[in-house]
C-alpha cells in the first residue's frame, strides 16, 4: 500500500474516532450538567431549611429572602412588588400573609423593604421578618 494511502487512512481513522468520542462525551456532558443542577438545587434547599430551623421553623420548612416595595398594607396581608425570589417566585406583585411578630406597624405604602418568608412552598409561606432596604 502506498505511504500516502496509509497516511490518509490513519488520518481518517483519527477523525472518525475523535468525532465519535466528541459526540459521546457531549451527550454525557449534558447529562452531567443536569445532575449538577439537581444537586445544586438540593443543596440550596437544605441550606434554606437550615436557616429556617435556626430561626425556629418546623422541620421541612424553608426560608427565602426577598426585596421589594410595599404597595398595600392590610392587617395581616402585605402586597409587595418584589424582585425574583430564587426558587420561589418570579419578579411580580404578590400578597404575603404577615406573621404578627413581623408587623410592627411602621411599614407604609411605597417603602422599599427586605423581607424573609418561611414555609414549605408557595401555598403556605408567611412573611416572618422585614427591614428597610
Amino acid at each position: 500500500m502506498p505511504v500516502w494511502q496509509v497516511v490518509l487512512l490513519l488520518n481518517l481513522t483519527l477523525a472518525v474516532g475523535l468525532g465519535f468520542g466528541y459526540g459521546v462525551w457531549g451527550h454525557r456532558l449534558a447529562a452531567l450538567d443536569g445532575e449538577l443542577k439537581t444537586v445544586q438545587a438540593q443543596v440550596e434547599r437544605l441550606e434554606r431549611e437550615r436557616q429556617a430551623c435556626a430561626s425556629g421553623a418546623r422541620v421541612g420548612e424553608q426560608q427565602w429572602e426577598g426585596r421589594g416595595i410595599v404597595r398595600a398594607v392590610y392587617p395581616h396581608l402585605f402586597l409587595i412588588t418584589h424582585e425574583e425570589i430564587v426558587d420561589l417566585l418570579p419578579a411580580r406583585t404578590t400578597g404575603f400573609r404577615v406573621a404578627a411578630s413581623a408587623n410592627d406597624g411602621r411599614a407604609r405604602v411605597g417603602d422599599p423593604i427586605r423581607f424573609w418568608l418561611q414555609g414549605t412552598g408557595t401555598d403556605n409561606i408567611v412573611l416572618v421578618r422585614m427591614e428597610p432596604w
Partner: protein, 425 residues
C-alpha cells in the same frame, strides 16, 4: 460597498468573473484538441494549458479572498463609509403619484424583463443576433438612464452609518437639550407647533429631514452647510452628542405626525414607534419598555397628582382587568421622587409600576407626542408602536370599558406589524 468586508467581496467577484470566462474559453477550445491536423491540436493544447494555469491562479486568489473575508468584520456589523457623492433612494422622489407609479419597481422589472426576453430570443434566433442583443442592451440602458437619475440624492461618507445609540428617551432628552442650546435659534423651538425656522434654515419637522438617513444628518451636523450659513459642530459637540441630536430629530419629526394618532386604534396601521425608556421603580431592578415586546401592551400614563388623582384611582381599580387583558400600566409623574408611590395613597392600592427615577427624560420625550401639561395616556402595542393617545384637555379620558375596547381591537389584529428597530435610520 463601504466596508472592508464589502471590498473583499467585490474583489472576489472581480476575480471570479475572469475565471469563469477562462473556463468558458477552455470549453470552446475542446473541439480544437481533437482536430485531424497534427500541429493545430498541439497549439490548442498549449493554449488550454496556459488558460488552465491562469484559471487555477485566479481560483487560488478567490480562495484567499474568501479566507480573508472570514477574518473581517461582516458588513452588517461594520460602519460603512460610502465612497460616492451620490446614492439611490426612493425617498428622494417628490410626492407626485404619477412619478411614483411610473418608477415603481414593477415598472423597472417590466422594462428589464422585456430586455432579458430580447436577449433570450437573440440566443435562440440564428439570424440578426447582433441586432437583437444590441436592441436589448439599448432598452436596458434606456430604462436605467430614465429611471435612475430621479432616484439619485446627494450622499456623504456617513450616509449608511449606523447610530451607536438606541432610540431611547434618555438620548432624546439629551438631544433636545443640545438642540435647544445650539440649533433652536435658527431651526425653531424644539416643540411641535413651535416657532418657525428663521431665514433659510430648514424646518426639521419637514418630510425632507425625515427622508435623510441618520448618517447624512450626522455628516451635516458635523460639517455644517457653509453655503447656507450653517456652522459645523464637529469641533463643538462630541460624537455621542451629535447622535443624541439625531435621535431627538427623529422623535421630533415623528411627533409632528403623531397628530394623526387619535383616540381609537386603527387596525393594521402601526407606524409610530414608541421610544424606549427605563422603568425604574424605587430600588427594584429597572426594566425597559422593550422588555414588554411580544408579551404585554403598555398604557403609559403621564400624570400630575394635582389634576389626575381621580383618574389614577380609576386606573388602580381596573388594573386587575387590564392585567388579564395583558396590559401593563406604567405611570410617570413629572418629576423623579422616591415617594411617588406613597403620594398616590393607599386606597385604592396602586399596584402598577410608578416610575421614581428618570422621569424628566420620559416626560420630555413623550410630551413631544402629547404637548402641554395635561394628563395624557398612550396605548403602546406589543410590538412597540403607539396606537392611541388620550389627553384630558383635548379628547377627554376614556373610561375603563373604552380602553378595554381599544385593547381588544389590537388583540384582533391578524398580522402583527414587524418590530421597530432599536436604532433610527
Amino acid at each position: 460597498m463601504g466596508t472592508a468586508h464589502g471590498h473583499l467581496l467585490l474583489a472576489k467577484l472581480a476575480v471570479l468573473v475572469p475565471a469563469l470566462l477562462l473556463a468558458a474559453a477552455n470549453r470552446a477550445l475542446l473541439p480544437a484538441l481533437s482536430g485531424p491536423n497534427e500541429a493545430k491540436p498541439s497549439a490548442a493544447a498549449r493554449r488550454m494549458a496556459l488558460f488552465i494555469a491562469l484559471e487555477a491562479g485566479l481560483v487560488l486568489a478567490v480562495l484567499g479572498l474568501a479566507a480573508a473575508m472570514t477574518v473581517t468584520t461582516p458588513a452588517i456589523h461594520g460602519d460603512p463609509i460610502w465612497p460616492w457623492p451620490i446614492r439611490l433612494s426612493l425617498d428622494a422622489l417628490p410626492d407626485v403619484p404619477v412619478i411614483q407609479n411610473l418608477l415603481q419597481p414593477r415598472s423597472e422589472l417590466v422594462l428589464a424583463g422585456f430586455g432579458l426576453a430580447l436577449v433570450a430570443v437573440a440566443f435562440l434566433a440564428r439570424r440578426r443576433r447582433v441586432l437583437l442583443i444590441g436592441s436589448s442592451f439599448v432598452l436596458v440602458a434606456g430604462g436605467v438612464a430614465i429611471g435612475l437619475p430621479p432616484l439619485m440624492v446627494e450622499a456623504y461618507p456617513t450616509s449608511y452609518a449606523r447610530p451607536p445609540l438606541t432610540y431611547h428617551s434618555g438620548s432624546i432628552a439629551e438631544g433636545m437639550a443640545i438642540y435647544q442650546a445650539h440649533c433652536a435659534f435658527c431651526h425653531g423651538a424644539p416643540t411641535v407647533g413651535g416657532e418657525a425656522p428663521r431665514g433659510s434654515a430648514v424646518d426639521l419637522r419637514a418630510r425632507l429631514t425625515a427622508r435623510r438617513s441618520a448618517g447624512e444628518l450626522f455628516w451635516l451636523i458635523t460639517h455644517g452647510l457653509p453655503e447656507r450659513g450653517m456652522p459645523e459642530f464637529g469641533s463643538r459637540l462630541g460624537d455621542a452628542q451629535r447622535w443624541h441630536v439625531i435621535n431627538f430629530l427623529r422623535a421630533f419629526g415623528a411627533a409632528s405626525d403623531a397628530r394623526r394618532i387619535g383616540m381609537e386604534v386603527e387596525p393594521d396601521r402601526a407606524w409610530l414607534a414608541a421610544p424606549d425608556f427605563t422603568i425604574s421603580v424605587g430600588p427594584l431592578t429597572p426594566r425597559t419598555l422593550r422588555d414588554y415586546r411580544g408579551q404585554r401592551m403598555v398604557l403609559l400614563v403621564l400624570y400630575d397628582l394635582s389634576q389626575s388623582r381621580t383618574r389614577m384611582a380609576e386606573l388602580a381599580r381596573h388594573y386587575g382587568t387590564l392585567s388579564v387583558l395583558r396590559v401593563e400600566v406604567v405611570a410617570v409623574p413629572p418629576r423623579a421622587s422616591p415617594s411617588a408611590i406613597a403620594e398616590l395613597g393607599a386606597s385604592p392600592p396602586v399596584l402598577f409600576p410608578v416610575v421614581t427615577d428618570g422621569n424628566e427624560d420620559i416626560v420630555a420625550t413623550y410630551r413631544l407626542f402629547t404637548p402641554g401639561e395635561a394628563h395624557a395616556e398612550l396605548l403602546i402595542d406589543r410590538q412597540g408602536y403607539i396606537r392611541a393617545i388620550w389627553r384630558s384637555d383635548e379628547t377627554g379620558m376614556p373610561d375603563a370599558i373604552a380602553v378595554q375596547a381599544q385593547v381588544e381591537r389590537l388583540n384582533e389584529e391578524k398580522a402583527p406589524p414587524p418590530l421597530p428597530d432599536d436604532h433610527v435610520h
